[in-house]
Symmetry: C2
Subunit: 481 residues, 2 copies
């Protein structure tokens, strides 16, 4: 383990985070909010520690797989710990576990909150809270499109064929090039949504906050009723459109916009599956709301489309309290929390491509029963999925469920009811945000015991880092050699 | 497809089933119960149709894989349909869907019931109900130890190494030899339990009924309070012992008792895992009952041991209404419903050996992350598990969950609450019996809509036939060639 390299990178992370606090600090000064000292202290602490750490001398070419895993996990932890300082220092969230939960929720683009009333908070705090989403979304894109594939984690190595992938000896420069291209797209999408939401009638501040929540598929809002507060179909449709865009693989956007291959979308099996899931789930939920709850068809479709898009992309905005919807609709939403976005998006959870690979590899076993000697590869579009990837995806699925069940059992031991426990873990591990029961969209995570909040914060991290990146750190073998 | 062979075998099944009704018929005549005509008619209908079918001329050597799948699925369906005649004709269960549910539950050794009050039923009906368990248990043993391994289904081909396995050309004679040995053990266990329960104070009738429920890991009782009605620790311990014995691989019993290899038990990784799960779960549940409900330690252990053994072996007897237990204990029991017994037992669900293979194949993926070039086989004790088996087990797990979720969604569409729906499907697909909520141990499945009963009956069948045997019939490829 190249410890100096790890510490130096964490120092860089801290420096960036400190700089990222400056907009909130400026807003606080401009609006004369009482949060100025909080942001000032946080800025200087982060900058000071960061400056000490970046002094460690290292050879930049020594980044290997192992350092990648350590940096990903501890990088996010560092972001969440230092990022919670403004919440604690300003008194917005006085308990450190609450502040850690909220910040981890931000940086992992989860959007689960412990704040009961966000409308009373200072704007500088609200901006920081939403900005953690946007920064986290950026981090996720590098991680899942540029870095993780090179670490051969969890089946995402599929993208090596599509995005120019780094090799071991030159991880850093390749990651930098790919990342720059992807950031440009991320920024373009962000600007487009801010402008459209402003035109649709939101204030600049609300536009920015909801755009950060959308493009990062995060879900923090500055309204207690989330997007439902606006009761405006146009605003909802804009947000739906951008949630769906940001739940897609950014490598596809890159190919369409920077390489001019617009047809890339329609050639991508994951994208087609993703659209199919959204359409099909929307129809099922709308039908259920219409038949069981007596909604008019148009209203049922509007609510269903918004909530399905919000959950499947793991954003977590709400226009209705779906905790009051019929159990069938809740069950559909709960399932979507597991499927999540597409690989290479800012969305979380298992991801459509893995679900596709699971379905295809299971269905070939039936064929094998009848034709024992046949060699049947798993195909995705024109690609053949290697057996290595199939095995990794199946193991990923198993770990995901194992962690899910383990944490659910832990929460029930703390006294939570089954529906709240199941949905709280599904919503944090999948980086969705609101769940059902106690942690429904009209409620929040504040009422949970401290132990639950800490464990669910770790779920957000584990889910965000594609499970393996954290799991591998827990294996004794990792630290031995 | 050799249709004549299939029909002839179904004819044999029917003839056996008719003969199996004779004890109940004799009891009905002896006790002058009003069920005599019901059993007489059922006997003659079964015998007549059976005699017609067995006349189809066939070459017995033509049994191939395909016929095996068709016979397994339609054999169980035939048993359940004809076996429900006495219930319908005697008026014990007037709705055909109820009678079908109860009989399917019997033959699949599930033990889920639609009967609210079993104590008012005639003895002949109660005997038939429990006898379906015992017969089903026999069928399962042939199926999972002798037949299915030769069909290379779902990872059970592991046993080819341990039990003399049939080859394609001589399936029938080998199955017959293996089956005879296993039946002898099944019978010995049955006799031992009947005698012990009689000595412990039960009537002969109660002993027989509860023995049938135990050795088949079925769970039908002739008491409304199930085994809890006796409030007798000795009786409970006897039943716990035999439940655990019958949740074990019968091939192990064969090697210990017929081949004199008593050490075979302790060399078997599945058995050790199974015992570990029982001990660990018992301790967790007992601790929970002690801390959260204020049970005395001894009483907590007694209830926990019984319920854990009953659920993990997929028997489904109850000594307490665990629907009233704390959510943590319920969650443990719900998880055990998925794990189930050992392969080659009369128990259902996923089975310990598959869970072991899933754990080991997932954990090797972590090692592969660090050592990409390493070839790491999955090992069970001294055996190396082939990649074919690993792939089949992973696909099995995926199908199991897929069917589980699909049926849960269907039940919520019918208006069931989430806990009832989840546990009803887990308890039927896993051949356990009672679930939680609406279908808890103090309640029954009678209140569910007819559509739910039919679908849950099919879940019992799918679970009992190791999922693949039914799934393969649904693939178009199966019927093409």
């Amino acid at each position: 383990m190249n410890r100096n390299l790890v510490l130096r990178t964490l120092g860089l992370v801290l420096l960036c985070e400190s700089l990222a606090m400056l907009p909130s600090l400026l807003i606080a000064i401009y609006l004369k909010e009482n949060t100025v000292p909080a942001f000032l202290i946080a800025f200087f602490v982060g900058a000071a520690v960061g400056l000490v750490l970046v002094r460690f001398p290292v050879d930049p070419n020594q980044l290997s797989y192992k350092e990648g895993f350590v940096i990903a996990t501890f990088g996010w932890l560092t972001l969440a710990i230092f990022g919670s300082l403004p919440f604690v220092l300003s008194g917005a969230l006085s308990h450190p576990a609450d502040a850690f939960f909220e910040t981890m929720s931000g940086f992992t683009t989860t959007g689960a909150s412990v704040l009961a009333d966000v409308e009373i908070l200072p704007r500088s705090i609200l901006l920081w809270r939403s900005f953690t989403h946007w920064l986290g979304g950026m981090g996720v894109i590098v991680l899942t499109v540029a870095l993780i594939p090179s670490l051969r984690v969890a089946g995402l190595q599929l993208f090596r064929a599509e995005v120019p992938g780094p090799t071991k000896s030159k991880v850093l420069p390749r990651v930098a090039i790919t990342s720059r291209e992807l950031y440009r797209i991320y920024l373009m999408i962000t600007i487009a949504e801010v402008v459209l939401l402003k035109i649709a009638g939101l204030s600049w501040f609300d536009s920015v906050v909801h755009t950060f929540g959308t493009v990062a598929t995060g879900g923090f809002s500055n309204k207690n009723l989330s997007v439902g507060a606006y009761e405006n179909a146009v605003i909802e449709l804009i947000i739906v459109f951008f949630m769906i865009i940001c739940g897609m693989n950014f490598a596809l956007h890159y190919r369409a916009f920077r390489a001019g291959e617009g047809r890339a979308y329609w050639k991508d099996p994951e994208f087609k599956f993703y659209l199919g899931v959204i359409v099909f789930s929307t129809l099922l939920v709308a039908l259920n709301l219409w038949r069981a709850e007596g909604y008019e068809i148009e209203r049922a479709l509007r609510f269903a489309l918004f909530q399905v898009s919000s959950i499947v992309t793991t954003t977590g905005f709400a226009t209705a309290d779906f905790n009051q919807w019929p159990v069938f609709s809740q069950m559909i939403l709960l399932l979507l929390m597991f499927i999540g976005g597409c690989a290479g998006s800012t969305g979380g959870a298992i991801k459509h491509i893995r679900v596709l690979i699971l379905i295809k590899s299971a269905s070939r076993q039936l064929t094998r029963l009848l034709h024992p000697q046949a060699v049947i590869p798993v195909r995705l579009g024109s690609h053949t999925v290697s057996e290595e990837v199939v095995g990794t995806v199946q193991a990923f699925f198993f770990y995901y469920l194992l962690i899910f069940l383990g944490v659910v059992i832990f929460l029930t031991a703390l006294g939570l009811d089954l529906v709240s426990a199941l949905s709280a873990v599904a919503a944090t591990l999948g980086n969705v945000g609101p769940g059902l029961g106690l942690v429904g969209p009209a409620s929040n995570y504040a009422s949970l015991p401290v132990a639950a909040k800490v464990v669910l914060s770790m779920c957000m991290l584990i889910g965000r880092l594609e499970v393996y990146s954290v799991m591998v750190l827990l294996s004794t073998r990792f630290w031995k050699t």
